[in-house]
Structures are given as structure tokens and as C-alpha cells.
């Protein structure tokens, strides 16, 4: 059996005295699309941010393709912090797409996509632009490279953000509610790009409220509630009947709002 792309072992995370993640165990198979679902405050975004190392876990180990992220086991349940260069090396395997896009407003779309290639990897401007243009074409924005974020729609901005993450050829792409800030009519264009990425066999981990998308594109569904991983399995199993009562309740609130087109 191949190593999982992400392996999460007994991860806890507290903010002050509030424990947000309470012993999460999860493994993300390589080349799969895993969707993290759950009500607000369930800890799904925090878990994703821990995988991106934007939050540090309070205990437990996260491995990216077998390499520990941030902290390594030191025996007897203790762990040691890894060096900054180790952290950078492992983090380089991960790309992140945010709910708020977080494009840098003083750079064009192409500038956003190529920034790390030039500044971090020291690539020549012309070579970086070639990669940047290719990634922008991949998300359907080859004619928008010279536009600033303020000149783009929300859906276009999010696609630029996806191209920015793709430009660094990460092994794993994380999405934190990528369509939650978008008008319903712009959601589709972003979901389509994500669907295409899933079809290429890239490892995706997606926090989303788009349950229909999760059910159709996800190969694995992880349902979190109150900081615990309640359910973990393929969509047919998770969404098939009989359903877990907590999931049933969660889905009802979504169906009540008419937001989900459940398979």
C-alpha cells in the first residue's frame, strides 16, 4: 500500500482554553479528493489550516507524504519542533486556496501567480511568466494576466488564486471554503476548475458547504462535529441510508435552505 498523501494522527488543537480539534485521525490517499464537511465551528477549517501549517497543532502528528510537518515524534507521546528549513521543505508540497482569495492587490493576476517562482525559487522573469500563463490558461483566464485583482470578478479572482497555488506544482492542494464568498452564479466556474483538477489525479482536500459537489467529486468524505471526526468514508457509504443521525440533522438544515442538491 502506498503512503497516504496526508496522515493525521491524534491531532488536538486548542485556542486558549477552547479545544477545537479533539484527537483527529484521518488519512488522505494520494490522488484522491477528500471533502471535509461539518457544521460551523466543527473544526474543519482549523484542521485544514493545521495541514497548511497556518495553525500549529497542540499535540499529535501530521505527515505529508510520510514527512512530519512542523513536529516529529520524540517518543513517549512527546514531540520535537522541526527546523524552519524542514518546515519549509514539507510545506512546499502543499498549495492553499482561501475563502477570501487573498490575492495581492498591488500585483496583476500574472504577478500573483509568478511571485513565488521569481522571489522564492529565483526563476527568470520570462520562464516564470511562461509557467504563469500556462496555469492561467488552465483555469480559463489566459486573457486576464495583466488585470489587477480589483478588475476581476470574485470567481475569476478565485481561479487566479488556484493558478497561483498550481504554479508551484504542489502534491496536495487544500481548499478552505473556496466558493463561500462567491455569488451563486460564480460558484460554478470555480467548482468546474476544481472538478477538472480532481480528474487529473491531484490530491485535493476541500472544506466545503457544497454538499452536492462533495458527493459527486469527493472520493472520501470526512464529517466533523464538535472537533471530532464523526464519519469517514466514501460518499455512497456516508450519504447512503441509513445515515448517521447527526449527519441527517446537518443535511436537513442545508436542504431546508435549498442549498443542496443531494444525490
Amino acid at each position: 500500500m502506498t503512503r497516504p498523501a496526508v496522515r493525521i494522527r491524534d491531532v488536538h488543537k486548542s485556542f486558549g482554553s477552547t479545544e477545537v480539534l479533539k484527537g483527529i485521525e484521518l488519512s488522505v490517499p494520494k490522488g484522491s479528493t477528500t471533502c471535509l464537511l461539518g457544521p460551523s465551528g466543527s473544526g474543519k477549517s482549523t484542521l485544514l489550516r493545521c495541514i497548511a501549517f497556518l495553525e500549529e497543532t497542540s499535540s499529535g502528528i501530521i505527515e505529508i507524504d510520510g514527512d512530519p510537518l512542523g513536529f516529529a515524534e520524540a517518543g513517549e507521546g512527546r514531540r520535537t519542533r522541526l527546523s524552519a528549513s524542514d518546515i519549509r521543505r514539507v510545506r512546499a508540497k502543499i498549495g492553499m486556496v482561501f475563502q477570501q482569495f487573498n490575492l495581492w492587490p498591488h500585483m496583476t493576476a500574472l504577478g500573483n501567480v509568478t511571485e513565488a517562482l521569481v522571489t522564492v525559487q529565483g526563476m527568470k522573469r520570462s520562464a516564470a511568466n511562461e509557467i504563469g500563463n500556462r496555469q492561467l490558461a488552465r483555469v480559463g483566464l489566459s486573457d486576464r494576466g495583466h488585470h489587477y485583482p480589483s478588475e476581476l470578478s470574485g470567481g475569476q479572482q478565485q481561479r487566479v488564486a488556484i493558478a497561483r497555488a498550481l504554479a508551484l506544482s504542489p502534491d496536495i492542494l487544500l481548499f478552505d471554503e473556496p466558493t463561500a464568498s462567491l455569488d451563486p452564479e460564480l460558484t460554478g466556474e470555480v467548482l468546474n476548475v476544481m472538478r477538472e483538477l480532481a480528474e487529473t489525479g491531484m490530491t485535493l482536500v476541500i472544506v466545503t458547504h457544497e454538499i452536492g459537489f462533495a458527493a459527486s467529486v469527493g472520493q472520501k468524505i470526512a464529517f466533523l462535529d464538535h472537533g471530532k471526526l464523526l464519519l469517514d468514508g466514501p460518499p455512497a457509504e456516508i450519504f447512503g441510508t441509513p445515515r448517521h443521525p447527526r449527519l441527517e440533522q446537518f443535511l436537513e438544515t442545508y436542504l431546508d435552505r435549498g442549498a443542496a442538491t443531494l444525490v
Binding site: M96, Q100, N102, L103, W104, H106, V120, S150, G154
Partner: protein, 221 residues
């Protein structure tokens, strides 16, 4: 009785030299004040708590007292603590300190206005702390705070007039002296007002150009 501007005009070379002094002192002091203000704001945000409190006191004392008094104390009080400065260096130092307190507050607001997600996005693509400051923080903040920076620079331009009390040979001192020598106060003061107004209009126009150039970079969403 009629106004006669030619009396003042006859001293043209002197006025020109004073005009030049006002401009270069203003530009140098403004640049130094912006740099010091940026350092103060950055240390207050990213430095230890004690430094933040100390610098807050600095900002509040400077903002809470008139520039005239600060300058007077620096120039005439300085020698009592071993700080004897010539008029122009004292004027530059005084204006730099005075301006830095205001600029630091502008930058503080600028730092706070940058969405944390923009920095997280930079971390995620591997930018180091120094690269984040250089490539993301400073340029983003510049576009956010430029209008306030231009405004403060204009205020500083007019504050150069106060340097006359410590005998810096700038416009107010020189034109004022010509006016009193020739008994042409109204003419001298009218000309002074016009000089300053012209300088302020010029700097406002330059600031407007810079803002226009940066207007594309406004925040999205």
C-alpha cells in the same frame, strides 16, 4: 497708501536661496520622518511589549506638544544636556522627530488594515519574513496610506516656517526680515503666503499623480 511688492522683489537672490532651503529641508526631513515613522510603527507592531509601550509614550509626547516648543527646547535646551546643534541640523532633527510621530500612526493604521490572509497566502507559497515585508507588506501599505502620507507631508511643508525661530535661513525668516528692513510687512507676508500655497499645490498635485497611478491596486471584493 498702496502696496509695493517691488521692494521685496529687489531682494530676489536672497529669496531664491531661502526658497531652496525651505524645499530641501522639507524634502529631507519628510523622507527621514517617513523612514523613522515606519520603523517606529513596525517595532510597535512586531517588537516586544515594553518597546511598544516606550514608543507609544514617544508618539504621545511628540503629538501632544506644539512643534514650536519642541524645537525651542531642542535648540536652546539641547546645550544643557550636551546637544549643541547648528540651526539647520537642529531644524532637520526637530522636524524628523515631529513628523515621525504622525507618520508612525499612519503606518500603524496601514499595518492593521492589511488583511492577515494576504500574509498567510505569502507564507503558503514560501515567501520568507523579509520577502513578505518587502514584496507584500510595504507595497500594500504604501497604496493604503499614500493619501494620508501626502497630507502629512503638506502639513510638514508649512511647519518649516517655524524653523525661523531658531534662525534657519528659510522663507519665513528671510522674507520676514526683508519686510521689516523695508517696512513692507504686508507685502512680505502676502508673498510668503503665495510661496507656501504654490509649494503645497505642487506637492498636492504630485501626490495626486502618485495616487492615480496606484488607484488600480485598490482592494478587491
Amino acid at each position: 497708501m498702496s502696496l509695493d511688492f517691488s521692494i521685496v522683489w529687489q531682494q530676489f537672490p536672497q529669496i531664491l536661496s531661502a526658497f531652496w532651503n525651505t524645499i530641501w529641508i522639507w524634502i529631507v526631513a519628510t523622507i527621514l520622518a517617513i523612514l523613522l515613522g515606519f520603523v517606529v510603527a513596525a517595532l510597535r507592531r512586531y517588537g516586544p511589549l515594553w518597546l511598544n509601550l516606550l514608543l507609544r509614550l514617544y508618539v504621545e509626547v511628540i503629538r501632544g506638544t506644539p512643534f514650536l516648543i519642541q524645537l525651542f527646547l531642542l535648540y536652546f535646551g539641547g546645550p544643557f544636556i550636551g546637544l549643541s546643534l547648528e540651526p539647520i541640523p537642529a531644524g532637520l532633527l526637530g522636524m524628523t522627530v515631529y513628523g515621525s510621530a504622525y507618520f508612525s500612526e499612519i503606518f500603524r493604521a496601514g499595518f492593521a488594515a492589511i488583511p492577515p490572509g494576504h500574509i498567510e497566502a505569502a507564507e503558503c507559497v514560501g515567501l520568507s519574513r523579509g520577502q513578505i515585508v518587502r514584496r507584500i507588506l510595504v507595497p500594500e501599505m504604501t497604496m493604503l496610506v499614500l493619501p494620508q502620507i501626502v497630507n502629512m507631508a503638506i502639513i510638514l511643508m508649512k511647519e518649516t516656517a517655524i524653523l525661523s525661530i531658531i534662525t534657519v535661513p528659510e522663507l519665513t525668516l528671510v522674507v520676514g526680515a526683508i519686510g521689516s528692513q523695508q517696512y513692507a510687512f504686508v507685502e512680505a507676508m502676502t508673498m510668503l503666503a503665495l510661496f507656501y500655497w504654490a509649494l503645497v499645490e505642487l506637492s498636492g498635485w504630485l501626490g495626486g499623480l502618485a495616487e492615480k497611478k496606484l488607484s488600480k491596486f485598490r482592494f478587491a471584493h
